[in-house]
Amino acid sequence: MNILTLLIFTPVLFGFIILLLPSSMRASFKYITLFATLLQLGLSIWMYLNFKTGATFAGISHEEQFQFVQKVPWIHLDLGSAGKMQIEYFVGIDGVSITLMVMTCLVMVVAAVASWEIKSNLKGFFALFLLLDMAVVGVFCALDFFLFYTFYELMLLPLYFLIGMWGGARREYAAIKFFLYTLFGSVFMLLVMVGLYLSVKDPATGNHTFNIIQMMNPANYINGSVFSTITHNTILGMPARSVGFVVLFIAFAIKVPVVPLHTWLPDAHVEAPTPVSIILAGILLKIGGYGIIRICMSIFPDIALSGAFWIGLLGVISILYGAFNALAQRDLKRLIAYSSVSHMGFVLLGIASNTAEGISGAMMQMVSHGFLSTMLFFLVGVIYNRVHDRDIYHFRGLGSLMPRYTVYVMVAFFASLGLPGFSAFVAEAFSLAGAFKSHSVNGLLPYWMAVCGSVGILLSAAYFLWTLQRMFFGKLSLKGGEIWKIALHDINLRETLTLLPLALIALGLGLMPSLVFDKVNDSVLALVQFIGIK
């Protein structure tokens, strides 16, 4: 049994167990889920420790350099004169996926712990939760486009129900908005996927293939096919490869999310229950960034280069626009949602630079934001569970009522606003350094983009500190009066056990960024070189 396959399908196994168990045992479901996620985390850490680095394990465009690979035929159909349909179950990881995968497994554990707050229809919730778990891990490992797409779409279904059934007051609106937004992206992705399939031939078998790595090699494109690198086909008068890139980019940009495709995010976050918010912010957004690196940039490197300016521009706009919007919020959860938009802008800016610093910074930012947004949403959940209110102006002086909670809030806020010592600092600094350096190295991004991006760092200080000042400092005063005062007890052991590791990880990554950089460096260098030579 391949360990990667085991990792992907472990949760769904436990999901079946939960489905089979009678509802009278519903109290055990959360422990089963927690066990499943912990098991998965253990597996992923084992893989992290055994992950080999070096130029010969860079991955990206070299199939043989991926690790923990499993490749078996999945759907092979003989279509007669149309050739053979070749879909494979092909999973493997390189430096880009390993760090995100470990991050995902850890965030899943936290989300499982946060699920303690769920009180209704436990069987359905945990079964869907575990299905979602399988799908997201699958996305990070899949190297066959068809498989990738399957996992990608499979995420939507559980998420729709998780938001729509266990969410807040406007959950149905949020769920359908989220669903349609994402579906809009992925439907067109399907067309490009089919187009790519018809354009690419596996040199070994001579069949069309969905193999992502084969799609990266321009030699595999059939002459005259839609996405051929040599013949410049057009779709509706536009170059076909550009259209393909843009369509895929939009699909992933919705996930990231990139302004102006972001408005599903605040609604989905606000309405989703805490564990789902955690998964959304911690993992889902990274799938967008991962998809841009793995699919958009790697399959269409030529367009990635010529369109870098626009990608970078969207990144800068996201940074500033998200930050300003965060400043305008009075719902704490919405504020954090917009701060996610702002922070993910750095990812886009870093990727667009196509420098080792920029892409590594973007990778670091994704991992770092994975942990920090998890922490932030968990913290909002703490307060919301106690009094069912999140309005910043309804609280004041929480610091004296909940001192330990306030310490964690301060850690999360300061880590998010890029205080050195925490992971976000290194990530943002190097995303910006890469973006600035880009002009001298490859001329992709103008200098001013990095300078504008750095204003986002200033704004993040403004909205986080303003929130701290309004909610946590000053004299204690609560909208709910004495009742709230009793309800707002300081964090308990379970919450501490969740928050402390997250805080320590954010600190650890900040002090030892090599934990991430060592693993991604070879892949990033290979990627930069791969994109650059086109």
Binding site: E357, G361, S440
Partner: protein, 687 residues
């Protein structure tokens, strides 16, 4: 380098690292082990004592000796290796000693000052963390780690300003301090990124050493060239602008100075250490670190801004009534001197003034702490509702607090720059070099030294006003409340000892054996360029005399104004008074214009988000629904309609035809006859 020096160098570096790490260890111990225990004060104090001893040791090993630079790989990103390391040269060991030596008396003082505070151990936790960050800041060797500790000192300052976090004014102040410092931080970050792009390294030593990378870069055809790298030379100025912002934010220079007066919301001992002596000097230290990078135009900018800040802050200090606010503006003014000195090329005098200022300003703040503490006692003993920091309540304290009075006298004289004090040496150095610099430059630039001289006289006035109002005359509270119970005094030894130590450091012998020549000071000599053309100009005689004599006259005038004639003589509603009293309206401008604008902009963008972007989405939704409805209508009435019609028709015909099968024979015959007739008629028609 031979192995023996290498070995001792490694030892020196180890000592320096331990000196830096001790306060951090104290922070960890206090945080994890001691909880709310009162022992935390002593743990922190012992740690800083250890740091001070080790720093002195390191100082004597490195001072006027070779530079020690050791580093180790931190992480690799792409092809760039990011190192962490220690860079020990004259500048860093001087700061190392200065910080730990100032921090020591402040720690001792704090054990008494914060004794009754509920957050005693939290206070020492923060204080130790600050000391760690500050000590690390001065010894690190790379721009990245420099930036990291640069922010961490800002962060610890944030924690300490907002130490009493249930006070609204305190948390407003610390937010403001951090955000304004962030403006500087992004400036610094931008500058670092530009330097990194240009030179490919973060290493301070490689970049800024004699003949280092920066020294070898040059301008050609509007480009800034370093090796094979070219970027437009405007980016050199932007890098300077970034560094300037960083300096302006940290060292409270115009236009980013407004956080410092508000930062006085923190405990007074903190103001003494962080907001007077050490952290705010970090900006000047940064200038010292990256000095080789500036060109003529950039230096002139520094001189202008520094001079303006010095003048502006001094004019504001003239009219303030809050004891700590006066000192805060005085700090801004003196920092302006240092920045100006850097700008006019008086590198060594700037650092000299940094050191002397640290001692006398720290002392002034500690004195202010004693005074405020005692007034608070009076306030609490008599349950009055007064602001204990308002100098209008004070007066006549020299009899009650004799030692404090002597200390403030020494510190005040040093701040004014009168002979026999350390301030005389360093301030005259700056002024003389500023006049030398202005010689042969345009008329506009010669205003700079004149304004600086003017500022030194303003300084004399506000210092005199402060001391006269607080320590001379009669206690004004007694006039308002004649029945006051007053039991106050210099206090515990933990108050007295730091005052004595610092007062001794404000006198000339620590710095120079000759009380009238800054050039013979060891501190000046170590940094001064080694050429002999100094000491010739006429200014060396004129300026010190001018400063001292006029200052004495001004002090006498202040004496007459405030003691002989009482307060009545001061005009309190002139335009100039209002400008000064309202701090040149700068803060008001920021609050009313800039902050409002940002909030407004964020509101507008949120509106865009909801109405435009989401509005578009909702429009799409409505269009989708409309199309769906149209389709549904079409489905119901057209597609289904045809079907219904067909069905209706069949039914109708069926109903009609059914009537022919009623079972009555007459009908059958009748209909048969009709059918036959119809056939015949049709046949006739068509035939």
């Amino acid at each position: 380098m031979n192995p023996i020096t290498l070995h001792t160098d490694a030892q020196t570096v180890t000592l320096a690292i331990i000196a830096v790490a001790l306060p951090f260890a104290a922070f960890v111990v206090n945080f994890l082990l001691l909880g709310k225990s009162k022992a935390s004060g002593w743990v922190s104090t012992l740690a800083i004592l250890g740091s001070a001893v080790l720093s002195l040791n390191v100082f004597f090993r490195v001072w006027d000796n070779h530079t020690i630079h050791m580093q180790q790989l931190w992480f690799t990103i792409g092809a760039t290796k990011v190192q962490v390391g220690v860079l020990l040269n004259n500048l860093s060991v001087l700061m190392l000693v200065l910080v730990s030596l100032i921090a020591l008396p402040v720690h001792i003082y704090s054990t008494a000052y914060m004794k009754d505070d509920a957050g005693y151990s939290r206070y020492f936790r923060y204080l130790s963390f600050f000391c760690f960050s500050m000590l690390a800041l001065v010894v690190v060797d790379s721009l990245i780690t420099f930036y990291a500790f640069w922010e961490l000192v800002g962060f610890s300052s944030y924690l300490l300003i907002g130490f009493w976090y249930d006070r609204d004014s305190a948390v407003q102040a610390n937010k403001k301090a951090f955000i304004m410092n962030r403006i500087g931080d992004i400036g610094l970050l931008t500058a670092i990124i530009i330097l990194f792009t240009q030179f490919g390294t973060f290493d301070l030593y490689e970049l800024f050493k004699d003949g280092g990378l920066v020294a070898h870069s040059f301008f050609i055809n509007g480009e800034w060239a370093a090796g094979l790298n070219y970027i437009p030379s405007v980016w050199h100025y932007i890098a300077f602008g970034g560094i300037f912002l960083a300096v302006a934010a940290k060292s409270a220079q115009f236009p980013l100075h407004t956080w410092l007066p508000d930062a006085m919301e923190g405990p007074t001992s903190v103001s003494a250490l962080i907001h007077a002596a050490t952290m705010v000097a970090a900006g000047v230290f940064l200038l010292g670190r990256v000095y080789p990078m500036f060109n003529e135009a950039e230096l002139t900018t520094l001189a202008i801004v520094g001079c303006f800040t010095a003048f502006m802050a001094a004019t504001i200090a003239l009219t303030q009534n809050d004891l700590k606010r006066i000192l805060a503006y005085s700090t801004i003014s003196q920092l302006g001197y240092m920045v100006m000195a850097m700008g006019v090329g008086a590198y060594s005098s700037s650092l000299f003034h940094l050191v002397t200022h640290a001692f006398f300003k720290c002392l002034l703040f500690l004195v202010a702490g004693v005074v405020i503490h005692q007034i608070k006692h009076i306030k609490e003993d008599n349950s009055l509702d007064i602001d204990p920091q308002d100098i209008r309540h004070m007066g006549g304290l020299r009899k009650k607090l004799p030692l404090t009075f002597i200390a403030v006298l020494i510190a005040g004289l040093a701040l004014v720059g009168l002979p026999l004090t350390s301030g005389f040496l360093s301030k005259d150095g700056i002024l003389i070099q500023a006049f030398d610099w202005a010689d042969g430059r345009s008329f506009m630039l010669s205003i700079i030294p004149i304004m600086a001289l003017l500022t030194s006289w303003l300084t004399a006035f506000y210092v005199a006003r402060l001391i006269f109002k607080v320590f001379f005359g009669e206690l004004r509270l007694l006039k308002a409340f004649p029945s006051l119970q007053i039991h106050i005094g210099d206090g515990h030894w933990a108050y007295k000892l730091p005052l004595i130590l610092l007062a001794l450091c404000c006198l000339f012998p620590l710095f120079s054996l000759n009380p009238f020549s800054y050039e013979t000071s060891w501190l000046y000599e170590a940094f001064a360029p080694k050429h002999a053309a100094e000491g010739q100009s006429i200014y060396h005689l004129v300026i010190p005399a001018l400063v001292s004599v006029v200052s004495l006259v001004i002090i006498f005038c202040a004496y007459v104004l405030y003691i002989k004639r009482g307060d009545g003589m001061v005009v309190k509603n002139g335009l100039l008074f209002r400008i000064s009293y309202n701090e040149w309206y700068i803060d008001r401008f920021y609050k009313r214009i800039i902050v409002k604008f940002v909030i407004w902009l964020s509101g507008v963008l949120y509106w865009v988000d909801r109405k435009v972007i989401d509005g578009f989405i909702h429009l799409l939704e409505k269009i989708g629904l409309a199309i769906a409805k149209a389709t549904a209508w079409c489905d119901k009435y057209i597609v289904d309609g045809v079907l219904w019609l067909a069905a209706e028709l069949v039914q109708y015909i069926g109903n009609f035809a059914r009537r022919f099968q009623g079972g009555k024979v007459q009908y059958y015959l009748y209909s048969m006859l009709l059918a036959v007739i119809a056939v015949f008629i049709l046949k006739l028609i068509w035939a």
